[in-house]
Amino acid sequence: MSNTYKVPTMAEMAANGQSPEVLFWVGCAGSFDDRYKAVTEAFVKILNKVGVSFAVLGTEEACTGDPARRAGNEFLFQMQAVSNIQVLNGYEIKKIVTACPHCFNTIKNEYPALGGNYEVIHHSTFLQQLINEGKVVLKGGGEFKGKKITYHDSCYLGRANNIYEAPREVLQALDAELVEMKRCKTKGLCCGAGGAQMFKEPENGKKDINIERAEEALATGADTIAVACPFCMTMMSDGVKNKNREHDVKVMDLAELIAKSEGL
C-alpha cells in the first residue's frame, strides 16, 4: 500500500478505541470554499508530515454559528453551538486546532458559556509552536528568501484575541522580508467581511472596505499578502483582482506558505 496522506475522522478513531492529540476543526470555508480547501489541504499535509496525531469530524461538523450570532440570530447560533458541543463532548475532545479565526474565537470564547470547554488554538499559533519545537524546519534561502511579504491581521485573531505575533513569527521563519502595512496589529484595518458581512452586500458608501485594504497592502510593494482567515482570503483576493494585480501579487494563507516552502 502506498503511503498517502491520512485524514482520519473522529468516528473512525473512536471505533478503534483511539483518541487523537488534537481535533482539526475544518470549518465551513475550509470544507466548501474552493480557494480555502487548498489551505485545509496544506495544513493536513503539514500535520501528516510532522506526524501530529489528529482527526477531523468530517460530516459530523457543523457551522459554529458565528455569522448567525453576529447577525443577531442568537437562537440559530445557540442551536448550532449546543449541537456542536454535544458532538465534541461526546468524543471527549480536549484540544482543537482550526484555520479559521471566527471558528477559533467562537469555540474558544463563546462555547464555554454553553458547556463546551476546550483548549482551542488557531493554526497560526500551532504552526509557530511546530517551528519553535523544531518539528517544522524551514531551510533558509528557500523560495521566499528576499521576497516581500505583508501580513494582513484578521480582526478575530488580533483585536479580538490579541494574537499578533504568532503569524508574524511564522512568516519570519520563511526568511522573507516582512513589510508592515500602515495600519497593522492593533490598528489593522478589517478586510470588510467580519460581523457576518461576508454574507451580504455592503451598505452604500464611497468604496468597498476590501478595496481600501487591498490598496494599502499593494502599497507595501509586497509580492505576497499573507492571511490567516478564510474571509480575509476571499476579501483580499477580490481586492487584488479588482486592482488587476492578481498576476503578480498572491494572497496566501500561512499554512500554504509553510507547505510550499517545505515542498509539500
Binding site: F32, A71, G72, M79, A160, N161, C190, F199, G205
Partner: protein, 444 residues
C-alpha cells in the same frame, strides 16, 4: 472688615452645590434606565485598568501630539485644583493666600508650578481650538458633530482659556499691589508667567488694581463652579466618568459576544437536553436584544455619558472610512441623547419610554448597525474603553429576533445554516469531500 464677601462666597457655593446635586441625580437616573448587570469580578485587574487607562492616559498615547497637549490640560486640571483649596479657605474665612506664610519660599515655587500649568493649559487649549477650527481635523468635522457638539467643544476650550487668564491676571495684579506695599497683599518671590502680564497693569491706580484682582479671584472661583455645572450638560463629563468607566471595562476577550442565557433554556428544551435551568425557566423573558435604552445595560449607558466625542473610534471604523453611515461615536451620542430625553420626560411626569420614539429607529438606523464588521477597531481606539460594538450587536439581536427584519441576504444565510448547517447552501453530506483528493496523494 465686612462679612459680605464671605456670605456671598458661601451663597455661591450653596447654589452651585444645589445645582450640581440636581444634575448628578438626573445623570444617575439616566444611566440607571439601563438593565442592572454585575461587573465586579477581578477587582485588582479593574483597579489596574483604571489606573493605567484613565489616570495614566495610556491609550491617549496612540496619537502623540494630542496626547501631549491633553496631558498638559489633564495635569493642569488635577494640580490647579489644589490651588482651589486655598481659594475655598480664603473665601470662607476672609483670609488672603492663607498658605503663603505657612509654606514660606515653597509657596512661591508652588505658585510658579501652578502658573506654568496655567500657561500650559492655555497653550494646549489654543492648539486644540486651532485643530478644530482652522486645521479642521477630519474626525472633528463629521456630520454628527454639527451644531451643539461643535459648540460644546469650543465652549469648553474657551472657558478654560478664560479661567487660566483669570489666574494669571490675579497673580499679576496681586504682586503689583504687594510691591506697592498694600498691606493686604503678600510679597512673594518672582512669578515667571504672571510677571509678563504686569506691564499691562503697572499704570493703574491701587483701587483699580484691587478691583481687577478681586474680580479675577471671584471670576476664577465662580467660573470653576459654573464650569462644574456646565460639565454635567456637556461631553466634558469624561473628566469624572472616565474613572468608573474604565473600572467597569470589559475584561474578556473583545471577540466574545455576551451570551443570552434566556435563549439557552429554550434551545436546550428544543434539543431535548435536560438541564437544571430548563426545569426552572425564568418567570418572564423580556425583549430579545435592544430597541431602546432600557434594553441596554447601565454600563452601556454609562459608556455613552463618558464619551467626549473625540471620534477616534469613528476615524478607525472601516465602515465609516469607506463612506458608510455608521459612526461608532454617533451610536454613543445617540444613546446618551435618548437616555437624557427619557429621564427628563420621566422626571417631569411625561411618558418616558412610551413617547412613541425609540433609540433604534428614531436615533440609530438599521443602515448604520448593519454596516458594522464587528472588527473592534472602535473599542480598541477608545481612550476610555467605551464599547460601541456591544450596543450595535444588541440592536441587531432585536432586529433579527423580534422583528425578523434582518437584511434579506442574512435571512438566506440563516436558512442555509438551519437546513444544511453551513452559511452556504451545500449538502451537509458533502462536507468531507475535500479530503478525497488528498487521501489519494502520496506523501512527499
Amino acid at each position: 472688615m465686612s462679612l459680605l464677601p464671605q456670605i456671598a462666597f458661601l451663597a455661591v457655593f450653596a447654589v452651585a452645590g444645589f445645582l450640581l446635586s440636581k444634575r448628578i441625580g438626573h445623570l444617575r437616573r439616566s444611566i440607571m434606565l439601563g438593565k442592572s448587570v454585575e461587573r465586579n469580578d477581578q477587582p485588582s485587574e479593574r483597579w489596574k485598568t483604571m489606573l493605567l487607562v484613565a489616570f495614566g492616559q495610556q491609550k491617549m498615547f496612540k496619537r502623540l501630539i494630542p496626547a501631549f497637549l491633553h496631558l498638559l490640560i489633564y495635569v493642569g486640571f488635577l494640580v490647579i485644583n489644589l490651588e482651589v483649596l486655598e481659594f475655598v479657605i480664603d473665601g470662607v474665612f476672609g483670609t488672603h493666600r492663607i498658605f503663603a506664610p505657612l509654606l514660606g519660599d515653597f509657596y512661591t515655587v508652588a505658585m510658579n508650578i501652578f502658573e506654568f500649568l496655567a500657561f500650559a493649559v492655555l497653550f494646549s487649549c489654543v492648539a486644540f481650538l486651532i485643530r478644530r477650527n482652522v486645521m479642521k481635523v477630519e474626525r472633528f468635522t463629521k456630520p454628527e458633530m454639527k451644531g451643539w457638539p461643535a459648540l460644546d467643544a469650543n465652549l469648553i476650550l474657551v472657558i478654560e482659556i478664560i479661567l487660566m487668564f483669570a489666574i494669571l491676571t490675579m497673580n499679576a495684579t496681586d504682586q503689583i499691589l504687594a510691591a506697592r506695599g498694600d498691606e493686604h497683599y503678600i510679597q512673594l518671590g518672582s512669578l515667571f508667567f504672571s510677571s509678563m502680564l504686569m506691564p499691562l497693569f503697572e499704570g493703574m491706580s491701587n483701587g483699580t488694581l484691587v478691583f481687577i484682582e478681586r474680580f479675577a479671584w471671584w471670576f476664577h472661583i465662580v467660573g470653576i463652579l459654573a464650569f462644574a455645572v456646565y460639565v454635567t450638560y456637556s461631553k466634558h463629563l469624561h473628566i469624572f466618568l472616565a474613572f468608573p468607566n474604565t473600572w467597569y471595562s470589559n475584561l474578556k476577550p473583545k471577540g466574545e459576544i455576551q451570551n443570552m442565557p434566556e435563549v439557552t433554556n429554550e434551545v436546550n428544551m428544543m434539543l431535548g437536553i435536560q438541564t437544571d435551568a430548563a426545569a426552572n425557566p425564568p418567570a418572564e423573558i423580556g425583549r430579545f436584544g435592544a430597541k431602546d435604552v432600557n434594553d441596554l445595560s447601565w454600563i452601556n449607558i454609562m459608556n455613552a455619558f463618558s464619551c467626549t466625542e473625540c471620534g477616534r473610534c469613528t476615524a478607525e471604523c472601516p465602515a465609516n472610512i469607506t463612506g458608510k453611515k455608521l459612526s461608532p461615536r454617533k451610536i454613543m451620542m445617540d444613546t446618551r441623547d435618548r437616555a437624557e430625553e427619557v429621564a427628563k420626560s420621566i422626571a417631569s411626569g411625561g411618558p418616558g419610554l412610551e413617547d412613541g420614539k425609540s433609540l433604534l429607529g428614531d436615533y440609530i438606523t438599521k443602515e448604520e448597525i448593519n454596516a458594522c464588521t464587528s472588527c473592534n477597531a472602535c473599542v480598541e481606539a477608545c481612550p476610555v474603553n467605551i464599547d460601541p460594538l456591544a450596543i450595535i450587536l444588541q440592536m441587531r439581536r432585536y432586529v433579527s429576533m423580534e422583528e425578523s427584519a434582518a437584511p434579506a441576504q442574512w435571512n438566506s444565510m440563516f436558512q442555509n445554516m438551519e437546513t444544511s448547517f453551513s452559511p452556504w447552501k451545500f449538502a451537509p453530506s458533502d462536507r468531507f469531500n475535500w479530503a478525497e483528493k488528498i487521501k489519494q496523494e502520496e506523501i512527499k
